[in-house]
C-alpha cells in the first residue's frame, strides 16, 4: 500500500493533448517517487472555473462540483480529493464551503444530483497537490528524495492568485506567501524571496477575451523575474503557467521586449531533482524550452 492515497481530480487542462498535460505527466512521476497514490475519480467533470459565472449561476456551478464529490464518495470512499489545478481546487473548495454553510443550498444540490442518480452523504476535504506535499508529507520528506539538486539555478516563485486567495496554502500570508520559495530551495535551486510580482494576477480568463489587459499584467510578472536575475519561473497553477509562458512572443511584439523565460511547474523541478529524465518531467511540453533543466536532467544521478 502507498504511504498516501487520494482521490484525484485532474481537471480539463491536464488531459492528454490539453494545455497542462505536461503538468500531469510530471505530477505522476513525482508521486511515484514520493509513494503517493492518486486514483482518478471516474467520469469526473469540469469544475465550471471562475469564468463560467455569466451562465453558471450559483446552484448549477455548485452542482457540477458536487457531482465530483458524489462520484468520489461512491467510488473512493473516505479519500480526500486532490486537485492539481488551482481553479479546480478553488471551485471545488468554494462549493464545499457554501454547501456546508447553507442547508438550503445543500438540499437543492441533493435534489439536482438525484437526476444523475447520485448523492452526497459526507462532505469531502478538498486539497491542492501543494497542500498535500507541504502539509501531509512536509519539506523534510520531499527533500529526502533529492538526488540531483538544481544547483545554481535562480528561480522566481510565481504563486499567482487562486492557490493563494482566498483560502491559501498552509496558512500563509496572502501578500507574501513563502512556500514556493521554500520548495525552490528544497530542490537545491536559488529562490528569489523579494520577487515582488509573486502574487500578481496573470489576467486569468481575460487572456482569452481581453488579451491586451492580461498581457499588460503578464509583462510585469515576467519583467520583474528578469530584474531579479531569474533564469526561470515556477508556478503551481496551470492557467498561470500557460498565460505567463505562451504570450511572451506577443508581448515582445507589443512592447519591444525580448522575453524568453521558461515557466515551469514545481512538479517538473522536483522530478528532475529526484533524478527523473526530461521525459518524466515532461520538459518537452514547454513552449519556451528550459535548456538549463534539460542539461541537468541529462546528467547522471549522484547516488
Amino acid at each position: 500500500m502507498a504511504k498516501h492515497e487520494y482521490a484525484f481530480y485532474p481537471g480539463c487542462s491536464s488531459q492528454k493533448g490539453a494545455s497542462a498535460s505536461n503538468y500531469l505527466t510530471s505530477v505522476e512521476s513525482m508521486c511515484k517517487t514520493l509513494d503517493v497514490k492518486l486514483t482518478e475519480i471516474p467520469d469526473w467533470n469540469c469544475c465550471g472555473a471562475s469564468i463560467g459565472y455569466a451562465e453558471a449561476g450559483e446552484l448549477p456551478r455548485h452542482v457540477m462540483n458536487a457531482r465530483n464529490f458524489a462520484l468520489s464518495e461512491k467510488n473512493l470512499p473516505g479519500q480526500e480529493i486532490v486537485a492539481t489545478c488551482a481553479a479546480c481546487w478553488l471551485g471545488a473548495r468554494e462549493t464545499r464551503e457554501r454547501l456546508t454553510h447553507s442547508d438550503t443550498l445543500m438540499a437543492d444540490t441533493r435534489e439536482a444530483l438525484k437526476e444523475a442518480g447520485l448523492t452526497i452523504n459526507e462532505m469531502p476535504n478538498i486539497r491542492h497537490m501543494v497542500e498535500v506535499l507541504i502539509e501531509d508529507l512536509g519539506f523534510d520528506e520531499m527533500k529526502k528524495h533529492v538526488v540531483r539538486p538544481l544547483e545554481g539555478v535562480k528561480i522566481a516563485g510565481y504563486v499567482g492568485c487562486q492557490t493563494n486567495r482566498p483560502f491559501g496554502v498552509d496558512g500563509e500570508s496572502f501578500e507574501n506567501p513563502q512556500y514556493l520559495d521554500r520548495m525552490v530551495e528544497m530542490v537545491g535551486a536559488e529562490s528569489i524571496p523579494e520577487y515582488e510580482q509573486k502574487v500578481t494576477c496573470c489576467g486569468g480568463a481575460l487572456a482569452f477575451s481581453e488579451p491586451e489587459k492580461a498581457q499588460a499584467q503578464i509583462k510585469d510578472i515576467v519583467e520583474s523575474a528578469y530584474d531579479h536575475g531569474a533564469e526561470m519561473i515556477v508556478t503551481p497553477c496551470p492557467l498561470c503557467q500557460a498565460n505567463v509562458e505562451i504570450y511572451q512572443g506577443q508581448i515582445n511584439k507589443t512592447y519591444g521586449t525580448k522575453f524568453n523565460i521558461p515557466v515551469m511547474y514545481y512538479s517538473q523541478l522536483m522530478v528532475v531533482a529526484y533524478g527523473g529524465s526530461a521525459k518524466d518531467a515532461a520538459l518537452n511540453g514547454q513552449m519556451i524550452k528550459a535548456r538549463r533543466l534539460e542539461e541537468i536532467a541529462a546528467k547522471p544521478v549522484k547516488r
Partner: protein, 210 residues
C-alpha cells in the same frame, strides 16, 4: 418609468433590495464602508479598465442607479484574482458580488451585448457543460469567430504562433475539433443541470414576488 419617478427612486432602497434578492452575495452590498481598498487592489482597475470600480458600484446600487450599474462593462473586467476579497476590511465577498452582478445583468439581458468577457464566459460554460469537460480548441475557435468568419480568421491568425507552439509542445491537439475529451454520463449531467436551473429560477422568482 417616467423621468420624475426615476428621480424619486434615486437614493431609495429599491434597487438595493433587487440586488439583495437577485444577485449572488448581493445582501453584502449594504455592508460596504466605502474605504476603496478593493479599487486599489484590483489589477485591471489599475489599467483604468473599470469605469466604476467595485466600491463605486456599491454606492451606485445604494443610489438607485439601476441602468448605469447593470449595463456597465465594469464588473466584466474581473479576473477572479480574489485580491479584493482578502483585503476587504469588512470581509465582503467582492469577487463573487462582481460575478453575481454580471450574471444578473446577463440574465435579464441588460449586459453589454458584445462585451468580450461576457461572450467568453457564456461560451466557456456551454463548452464545459456540453460534454462535461472543456474542449480548449473549440473554446478558442468559438471566441475568435464570435464576430463572424472573416474577423475570426484574423483573430485566429494573431494567435497563430501561440497555437503552433502549443501544438508542437503537444498541449493543443488539432483533432480536438472532432470529438475530444468528454464525460461518459452526459445524459445525467444534462438532467442534473436542468434541474439545478429550475430550482434556482423558482427560488429567484419567489424572492422577486416577495
Amino acid at each position: 418609468m417616467s423621468a420624475n419617478t426615476a428621480l424619486a427612486e434615486k437614493y431609495r432602497n429599491n434597487f438595493l433590495k433587487e440586488i439583495e434578492e437577485q444577485v449572488e452575495m448581493g445582501d453584502w452590498v449594504k455592508m460596504c464602508m466605502q474605504c476603496g481598498v478593493c479599487s486599489g487592489s484590483c489589477p485591471t482597475n489599475f489599467q483604468s479598465a473599470w469605469e466604476h470600480p467595485p466600491q463605486e458600484l456599491f454606492m451606485m446600487i445604494r443610489a438607485g442607479k439601476r441602468d448605469e450599474v447593470l449595463t456597465s462593462t465594469s464588473m466584466w473586467n474581473c479576473t477572479s484574482c480574489y485580491n479584493c476579497i482578502v483585503r476587504c476590511p469588512r470581509k465582503l465577498p467582492i469577487t463573487h458580488i462582481m460575478h453575481g452582478i454580471a450574471e444578473y445583468a446577463h440574465r435579464i439581458g441588460l449586459a453589454p451585448k458584445m462585451q468580450a468577457t461576457r461572450f467568453f464566459s457564456g461560451l466557456f460554460w456551454k463548452n464545459a457543460t456540453k460534454t462535461g469537460r472543456v474542449n480548449e480548441l473549440k473554446l478558442s475557435m468559438g471566441l475568435y469567430f464570435k464576430n463572424g468568419f472573416g474577423s475570426g480568421v484574423k483573430e485566429g491568425m494573431k494567435m497563430k504562433d501561440v497555437a503552433i507552439g502549443l501544438v508542437l509542445a503537444k498541449r493543443l491537439n488539432p483533432l480536438e475539433l472532432f470529438g475530444g475529451h468528454k464525460c461518459k454520463d452526459q445524459k445525467g449531467i444534462q438532467a442534473m443541470l436542468k434541474k439545478a436551473y429550475e430550482i434556482e429560477r423558482s427560488r429567484k422568482a419567489a424572492k422577486m414576488a416577495g
